[in-house]
Symmetry: C2
Amino acid sequence: MIQRIHHIAIVVSDLDAAIDSYQNQLGFEVGKRLLIPEQEVEIAFLPAGESMIELIQPTTETSGVAKYLAKRGEGLHHICLTVADIEASLEALAAKDVQLITPSPIQAAEGRGLFIHPQATHGVLIELLEPDDPS
Amino acid sequence: MIQRIHHIAIVVSDLDAAIDSYQNQLGFEVGKRLLIPEQEVEIAFLPAGESMIELIQPTTETSGVAKYLAKRGEGLHHICLTVADIEASLEALAAKDVQLITPSPIQAAEGRGLFIHPQATHGVLIELLEPDDPS
């Protein structure tokens, strides 16, 4: 079902400071940077081969990401894996009674995705994504 | 400096159970599986495109990984990024006073690597690796 790692998401408290660290210490370049008001976050993608690092800063104190940051501090948040067909993946997961956070695919920044509950995957929040641009 | 994501490491309490979840729910195949007594862990690599998921189970209660598991529970542990030349990376990091956990490259399962302190990278433990097999 899984094709590749699309991105690894890291929650940060200050997006500019985090971009500066990843650029200047590790030599990353900044790809897309987006404000997503409906998710109450600002994100930046840093390409790494066929994958990306996604830096996420909450823009309010009420979102799930903001609460995660308040509770656990900055750090790894989730991994996103690409699939060819998100509907087929949803059916396969449902057939195995895998616990999902999103009961049906939702439109994300990069395509249509769903989130699997960490209880099903040994503590890891996993997003499955059918990218709008599969390249 | 960074070429690609080599692996994302996930700490688990029961390697067999975790492999079963990732195989049967998400369709991963199991690549290499290794007992590494000197690091007090058993690991399994699950390929995903040009990267891998690394499942890590501590085999003692005294290792750093065992303490991490006891404190934080199962979940994401570190990300590993490949570099072409680990010595050059070390020099570049030292020139910028980036805080390291390993002061010089160490031999890891897949090549020579070093660990950057999470304080330098917004809460993320990052391993840089010059793979023995760059493919």
